[in-house]
Assembly symmetry: C2
Homo-oligomer: 442 residues x 2
């Protein structure tokens, strides 16, 4: 016998925490579906050739062997665990191309695995919650505005203040080109501008100068990076600075489509520009700035060029669900108190009452009210302590209940309020969530 | 570029199939929660010493390496993927003992992995949907009746005919002992009785005789194995056969608690008796007998003796979710037609109408109605074909809609019925699912 120890980087929640995480997942899923995204789930396992198809992977990938084999029996790894949900999506879309309808809107909320050194808020196994819209050949620009709309909706429902920031990769590149930067210089300059938050304008000024850029060019770069505001406003400011790029019109279009959604185009955002080809997103939580971007994404020209000849442009965004929830717990911003979904604990005064209690529980459940009957006819104090410890909101005393007179007493533990009512009436008035609707058309 | 191929044994669903699987998961989860089971999720990865703690494991376990290492660099496997949800539960309960409230009722719906040769309906990655009740020291018998009640509730809601069968391990053993079988003979005899379905009574008679049992003993074994019926009836029949065992009283108690739940005690069930110590469960679907038991479980004396000194008896049951859903698809019993959760497709007559369409969509979503606006102002035929292909039930024509007169036309595609109504009225009348309730008490 050996007492088990936790595995570093593989978080597991206690029941009250899992209930809160589950709520977060449920809200995300609910909103994703409201916008018509289909659930998708890919296998946790991919061929290693798929995982590395985009070239060198800087994530530590877990490879799979067999416990029955000695590790040395194997020449090479054939399979590994996925490290994100984008590579599996690309592989899935290429593989099932003929069966999908485009634009293909999918959401995917799954665990991913990365064998990196675990740190605070950084795990080896964690949830991502992605949406992407994949089109054939051409993806209309209004989808770029849908991503922030969805994210805004989710964070509003969770009552979490959020600051959605956008930028456009091509706008920066076109502007830098207009300043007569070479194609080799542009990424180097962007890397320096990316440090703006850390080293400040003066620091970036020095390092851009160090790259051999003239004072004038450096000043323009910094002026552009300082522009922020809603899309329509940023369009005007950037145009005033002399930006001339089709990307700028895209900023305007996306900004107009986001008229109802609070957002900030921030031309100083550089992160993620390597991968994306158009709009990019970051989401900061102003109350918890140290979290960094909790929800990022962007537009890409071609999802699956490694796997198919079809041109499949897309736009997507991903919520760092595990990172967010672990932060909310660690900082005690979320302090879940319920350890089970049970809404009502039926007190069992005597084992002879158990059939009656079971009958009451069954009626409550038929009204969507999660119910337990206490496990043993113990002292009342013990039964109440159980409800209290598990955070069960209400207890029901069945003493007065009989088949002819369905009167029960229900006590709400938080307020101490106690009512004596006929069970059917109380159950009707306190209906729980409806059973899930079947939307599969089966 | 290389066209990706599927990996045998790792099923992935198309969007319409995933929607149906998701519904199955949602119903299972809903019912599990109605009975007060808490969601639990353990890491996919366990230490190999945990996975093998119960001794030799007859499942093929996937072990984890690092893609960056050559397989030969490693001396031994440290981690592997879990192959069921019971070992992780035992490890979790032992590890978090001080933080849990007992009886601990948890459900766990997660993928598990087994590196076995894939066959029809048998996968290497698949979902299990488990519930277990774990108590300290003593687990009241009424929990044995809760398992079939929960399963019955689930299959009723799914409209799937089911036949829940129970047996009691100790009853068989005590009966065989009463026939003066030796402790070595009992498992051998049980193995033969287990073949009853395959080889028939005569076959079993021969093979039991071959073990050296007298004709009289063989006849008694077969008589016992032929007893089936509701618990209370089986109690009487078994007693009449001369069974005298505390287990028989347990059958009666569980049978009485199951008065409202259709069930069959079947004293011919032997499967799973190695692991369990009391009540055992199997669930057959009479319309699909070739599926075998789709939902099995039982009572065990001690969940986690490998990990803790505490005595933690439990009872649990597990639905073979992936096996069930893949069967329902393969036999075309479930033929999902909807490829996305979208309930309403808003037609976009002209790109200038897009802001208006977006406004309409937003109002529908506020009523819980999943809505998409068509991606491009194409010919009406194309837009309708998209709705048709994706199985979207309704399309909305926004032509008449203005801020002052919110009239829209909604067409139900299946019936062809079309109504002209004010949007707020229609949305109110056709409310979709409510947003998820937060039950975490955060």
């Amino acid at each position: 016998m050996r007492k088990p120890r936790p595995i570093s980087g593989f978080p597991e929640w206690l029941p009250h925490e899992k209930l809160a995480e589950q709520h977060l997942i449920d809200v995300i899923r609910y909103v994703y579906e409201l916008y018509g995204f289909s659930p998708l789930e890919t296998a946790a396992i991919e061929r290693t050739e798929t995982l590395t198809a985009k070239g060198v992977v800087d994530k530590e990938i877990y490879a799979l062997g067999r416990l029955r084999e000695e590790p040395g029996e194997r020449d090479q790894w054939e399979y590994g665990l996925h490290f994100d949900l984008t590579v599996p999506l690309a592989r899935y879309v290429a593989m099932n191309y003929g069966h999908l309808n485009f634009p293909f809107k999918r959401y995917q909320i799954q665990k991913v695995w990365r064998g990196e050194r675990p740190q605070e808020g950084r795990f080896r196994e964690f949830y991502q919650a992605d949406i992407d819209v994949i089109a054939e050949n051409e993806l209309p620009l209004h989808f770029d505005a849908e991503m922030p709309a969805v994210i805004h909706d989710i964070f509003c429902r969770l009552d979490i203040r959020h600051d959605i920031r956008l930028n456009h990769r091509q706008l920066l590149i076109d502007f830098y080109r207009g300043l007569e930067m070479s194609d080799e210089m542009i990424p180097a300059a962007l890397r320096e501008v990316d440090k703006l938050d850390k080293v400040g304008a003066d620091g970036v000024k020095d390092s851009l100068g160090g790259l051999g850029l003239s004072d004038e060019v450096v000043a323009s770069c910094l002026q552009l990076a300082a522009i922020r505001g809603p899309g329509v406003e940023v369009f005007e400011k950037a145009r005033a600075l002399g930006v001339s790029s089709p990307a700028l019109d895209e900023v305007k279009t996306v900004g107009e489509a986001l008229a109802q959604v609070p957002h900030t185009f921030d031309l100083g955002i550089v992160r993620g520009l390597d991968y994306y080809t158009g709009t990019i997103y970051e989401t900061l939580l102003p109350d918890y700035p140290e979290l960094g971007s909790i929800c990022s994404g962007g537009r890409y020209e071609n999802l699956a060029s490694e796997f198919t000849n079809k041109k499949l442009p897309g736009v997507g965004i991903s919520i760092g669900l595990s990172r967010l929830v672990s932060y909310l717990f660690a900082k005690e911003i979320w302090k879940p108190t319920r350890h089970c979904p049970t809404q009502v604990l039926v007190i069992c005064p005597d084992e002879d009452d158990r059939p009656k209690c079971a009958l009451i529980a069954e009626q409550l459940r038929r009204h969507g009210i999660a119910t337990e009957v206490y496990s043993k006819a113990q002292a009342m104090k013990k039964q109440l302590r159980y409800a209290d410890r598990k955070g069960i909101p209400q207890v029901l005393f069945p003493h007065k209940y009989s088949e002819t007179d369905p009167t029960v007493e229900v006590k709400t533990l938080a307020s101490g309020e106690q009512v004596t009512v006929p069970l059917p009436e109380w159950a009707e008035k306190n209906r729980g969530p409806a059973a899930p609707a079947d939307r599969s058309g089966r």
